[in-house]
Subunit: 709 residues, 2 copies
């Protein structure tokens, strides 16, 4: 049997053997055929498109809020940006610890669940579910914004384009696409490279005494008059909006299993690298915006001196910096806008990957339908993609793809999961410490999974990790508070409505599974002991599937066997009786009359009467079942059979035996190729090859000339 | 057994016994418990809401087109209206013949199919399908128009209200509603009565020398300058729009089985009554509109002297006549508008009833999925309602619920089916004649179904019917030509795109069924002859459903029996082995290892290997199947089992035996009430009562203390 297995999944994928692989190095030996794991240079773009792309909107939103108070407030900008960077450093440091402690890919959800209990875990889970929707929404909205900045003629179709992108992403993911392909890595590197070059060119020009000047530099800004409290609130709001730069940082902690060995070390290094790049890009872009005097207003017509404020779209900060640095019609300007839009769409795509991954973790813990944990159930998975796309589209339409409004809804979920995750980590380290002090004590150590590079930590290392996570938890908690206060009335309340709904749904699913588990548990008072064995073959017309069912029923040699036909049409019954004799079938054919043209009722009544006479007998009802090759054929078959089956299964003592009949078209299902499932790459799972060889047995075994299928 | 049957369907519905029934007469004795058939006074409103409601828009569209040429063209109005009335009389007379010849309820589709062949029948069917969608669209749009005429403040929400009504209709029909309830009869009678009173009052005032004057009487109309050809085209267009008064006339011919005996006579009388009422209302409304000088323009701002033409909605013709007759703020005005809107919504509802009815006829003839012909498959039926509602909503949104534009799409389908139906009738009578002349001749007589009052026709009667149908066919063909020419570029081309698509879909379904039929036909070269009988019980964990499956498998006494467990989790397998010993089960437990955490593959491999050794053996695989009480529970169960089952059914020689396990929640399905299905009343079918008694057997029969379900 082992050789058969090797035959079917053991062939390395063709792409591993292609010559171009010497560019990115020989494929690593895989662990137990588990497929291709990610080297760092591919892991970075896959996990970093989400966090890095937030650089495209975070500086803009930060500066925009400040400018509500007038241009003078821009002097606060470096300090607010610095606060965001400090927070980013803290969060990256915190997640380095999390990766080491929980390398299984459960991320904040797992940490909160294990250390803070079920409810905290579910809060994180609902926050993340909302977060995935908002990742799609914000990334797409920002991407469209940058496209429109380059091609203003598209402005009237902003919402339409955004929804179109969501539909395209959904279609691509429904079709199946592997994230680990290099095509996905290119835009992220291009984005990092081109923004970096832009910042360097801009700074060089500034040092050389020729600083770039944005087109909006000459516009004034109508300041709102603010009280002292208003000023503080404005600074906090600006900080809260800038914090959108942190979204997506947690992605790597969910994807540790996909890294090459040593997994933890590689994931940590990639995280730090990503954090460094994010800081450079964020700081650089903010600096360049300040240097080139980009004036960006929440309400475009608050810009003094811009005549076309109500007809023309306001170009994004990224576009203004690019235009100031390279010139608004240079090829570099368009490269910057194109790569920005592309990386934002990739970021949206990550949500389509993360959603099923989280779903499978939730299903494993019985908070979501079990089917989500079974890889390869494309139907259920498709539902996830469709739901995500629908939710994102509705939000885009309702908020007219307005980035500034959408940002308000975004980062609540992110910081809920940050805070609870870090708090869970604090709890984790405290437990580790107490365990070390009282090795045989009462403190229960939560089970961690073994990893290749998990090594015992020194007490000092634990203390250091504890401090880092405590600082992280404290800071993210404060930011969560700030974000909630400053954004609640701006739309964030919607998030606070959605999260409890998701929370209670997941609770409900969990309680349901628990109840069923209890119900089907073996107990000593319930006994089984059926005796007697009767078989019925349900016969409609004299057709091959019926003959096959009859054949199987005869082969099973039941104590008694009869064929039953429910008569609806006089003529058809007469014909069947004639065919019965003609085919020389020796099984008794019983005709049940159905005055109301209903198939199942007379049959059920007959079985019930029979069982009343014969006691606890098992009645096996044989029914042919069509196996078809296309989904749409199911619309044309099996309905009557399915309804009868459903009703029969409600009758005591009945078991329904399905005898398959493969229609010609079903040959097609053998030819189906396996398609990658979203989230597969980040999970480190290979595509399970569906055997291409048809599942048929060698022809020589059977007797008789041409055998029925 | 007969007593059991009577117990379950024989109880007359409670409403038949209620005292209020003496108002509408005692319930008739039903024929073989076939349920309540419709008396004429209920049949009229049920079938007439569609044709009578068209009076609400036909005069308006007729006059509006005329006024494109200027007010002078109104002098043509009586003649155009007369042409419409003549056509209406002809069509009613034609359908009287059709009802007599084809009382089975197939209508134009059946007539065209039997007499003109398959393709003509399918053309009619696709025309009718389009027609149902447009009935919903036009009726709802006109209903909303009349609501807005009474409450102009709602004008900005025209499209939203229209879509809302479609959603409500869909929801009501998904939930299930019986059309025959008196609640449905009241609005139609109110509408007939109130419009009739309005016409009488208006005419009386005119005779008394005080004719009502519409608010738009003082407005002039900008005439378009027209060539001679243009004038003729305008008159034809006006006639074509007026022909919308004929829509729905065919409804009664589809509903003959729902009438009381003598069915044909009663249906014919109801048809003539309906035709008479339609003519009176149509002529009366047109006359009153001319007398009160309603000026209604296609483009509101072509009305000279109306200042608010671009801010205010133009009141419907019905509203203007009502306001002129009774005063715009009188209670009567609002009664007219309310009953008009209500009857239009009822007309839309008829499409939700007619759609599944046509579907079942098409399914019977293998042009639509068979499941549509099985009454009570609510799932499939729901799809029909949803598709109809979606199509109607899309059209309403695309055309902004603009009645004038929508009318253009409407009557094409109606006249296609009129023309082909009448042509089929001509063919029918010609055949009858030739049959009479050569009783033993070669002319094949299409089988007609026997009806209670079908009596042989005299040759004179046949000739008269032939002439009537020939005139009908000729006139409707001419009108179809006129409608196509005048409306093609105004949007009717869409209908000419949709109809072929539907046509080829139905053809495809038919060809598919034919091929499958051929494929499963018994032929002498395919033989069956399995020998050997092995049974496998698939065991996951030690739970009651597994024990029940095991119990059934033991009871069936197969030649050999084993339990098979696919091991995915070391610990779970160990626990199962222990439980196996503890439960003292004597069946051998075979453990298959699954290195790839896949359940089905090792199992299939094992069965295939076994069959390679044992030859053409039948392997019965027992699997527990959860039976649940709510649809949503299916989301939480059975997925793994379903996937394994699907794969097993592809393996040679395997039959899958489903052993049901009823979860506690499944008790609920016993309590479900049957709901009426749309189209039920017009078909003359009773609601098939689902037995309220739980399908359980008496407790005393089994052995053992508490038995597993």
């Amino acid at each position: 049997m082992s050789s058969a297995v090797t035959n079917e999944v053991g062939e390395p994928p063709a792409e591993l053997k292609s010559p171009k692989h010497w560019i990115i190095g020989d494929p690593l030996p895989t662990e137990h055929l588990e497929g291709q794991l990610l080297p760092k240079h591919l892991a970075l773009p896959i996990f970093a498109s989400d966090p890095l792309s937030s650089v495209a909107y975070a500086p803009q939103e930060l500066l925009m809020i400040l400018m509500v108070g007038g241009l003078a407030f821009l002097s606060f900008a470096p300090w607010v940006a610095l606060a965001v960077i400090v927070l980013l450093v803290t969060v990256v440091a915190s997640y380095r610890q999390l990766i080491r402690a929980y390398p299984s890919g459960g991320g904040d959800y797992e940490v909160a669940h294990r250390n803070l209990g079920e409810k905290a875990g579910l809060v994180v889970a609902s926050a993340l579910l909302v977060d995935y929707v908002m990742t799609v929404v914000v990334s797409v909205a920002s991407g469209v914004d940058n496209i429109i900045s380059a091609i203003p003629e598209l402005n009237p179709f902003r919402v339409e384009i955004a929804v179109l992108f969501v539909i395209i992403l959904a279609a691509v993911n429904l079709r199946g696409v592997s994230e680990s392909s290099k095509a996905f890595a290119v835009p992220t590197y291009l984005f990092i490279g081109s923004v970096f070059v832009m910042v360097v060119v801009g700074l060089t020009r500034t040092v050389m005494g020729d600083p770039p000047v944005a087109e909006s530099a000459t516009y004034g800004v109508e300041p709102e008059s603010l009280t002292q409290a208003g000023i503080i609130l404005l600074l906090l709001r600006s900080f809260a909006s800038g914090c959108s730069a942190l979204t997506g940082v947690e992605a790597i902690s969910n994807g540790v299993p996909a890294f090459r060995r040593p997994k933890v070390r590689n994931a940590q290094r990639t995280l730090v690298l990503m954090g460094g790049i994010a800081i450079i890009l964020f700081a650089g872009l903010t600096a360049m915006a300040l240097i080139s005097q980009v004036h960006y207003a929440e309400v475009p017509c608050h810009l003094i001196g811009w005549a076309e404020c109500d007809t023309e779209p306001q170009p994004s900060l990224m576009a203004q910096v690019a235009a100031a640095t390279f010139g608004g019609s240079s090829i570099f300007f368009y490269v910057i806008q194109a790569t920005t839009a592309l990386v934002l769409l990739l970021a949206a795509n990550t949500a389509f990957n993360g959603f099923p991954l989280l779903g499978s973790v939730l299903a494993r813990d019985s908070y979501a339908p079990k089917s989500l944990s079974t890889r390869g159930d494309r139907l259920i998975y498709s539902n996830g993609v469709v739901i995500l796309a629908l939710a994102a589209s509705v939000i885009l339409v309702v908020f007219q793809a307005n980035l500034t409004v959408l940002i308000q809804l975004y980062i609540i979920g992110v910081f809920v999961s940050f805070t609870l995750g870090q708090t869970g980590m604090v709890r984790h380290w405290l437990r580790e410490l107490s365990l070390r002090r009282h090795p045989a004590g009462t403190a229960k150590r939560p089970p961690t999974r073994p990893d290749d590079d998990a090594r015992p930590l020194s007490q000092g290392a634990i203390l250091r990790a504890l401090v880092i996570n405590a600082v992280g938890a404290g800071m993210t908690a404060v930011v969560l508070l700030v974000v909630t206060i400053t954004k609640f009335t701006h739309g964030a309340w919607i998030v606070f409505v959605m999260m409890p709904i998701l929370f209670f749904l997941m609770m409900g699913v969990n309680r349901y599974y628990r109840d069923v588990e209890k119900e089907i548990e073996v107990d000593p008072t319930t006994t089984f002991g059926a005796t007697g064995d009767h078989a019925i073959v349900l016969v409609g017309r004299m057709q091959k599937p019926t003959l096959k069912a009859l054949d199987y029923a005869i082969a099973a040699r039941h104590d008694s066997l009869e064929a039953v036909h429910v008569s609806i049409d006089e003529a058809a019954t007469k014909k069947l009786k004639k065919d019965w004799v003609k085919q020389n079938i020796h099984v008794k054919l019983r005709i049940l009359s159905s005055p109301y043209r209903d198939l199942s009722h007379p049959l059920i009544q007959y079985i019930k009467n029979r069982r009343q006479e014969h006691g606890s007998e098992v009645v096996t009802v044989y029914m042919p079942q069509y196996i078809v090759g296309h989904w749409w054929e199911n619309l044309l078959h099996n309905h009557k059979a399915r309804r009868i089956r459903q009703k029969l299964l409600l009758v005591h003592g009945v078991t329904v035996a399905l005898v398959p009949w493969l229609l010609d078209s079903s040959d097609l299902i053998y030819g189906r190729r396996s398609r990658p499932l979203p989230g597969q790459d980040r999970r480190g799972e290979p595509v399970r090859a569906v055997p291409r060889r048809p599942i048929t047995e060698p022809q020589g075994t059977g007797a008789g000339p041409k055998r029925g299928r």
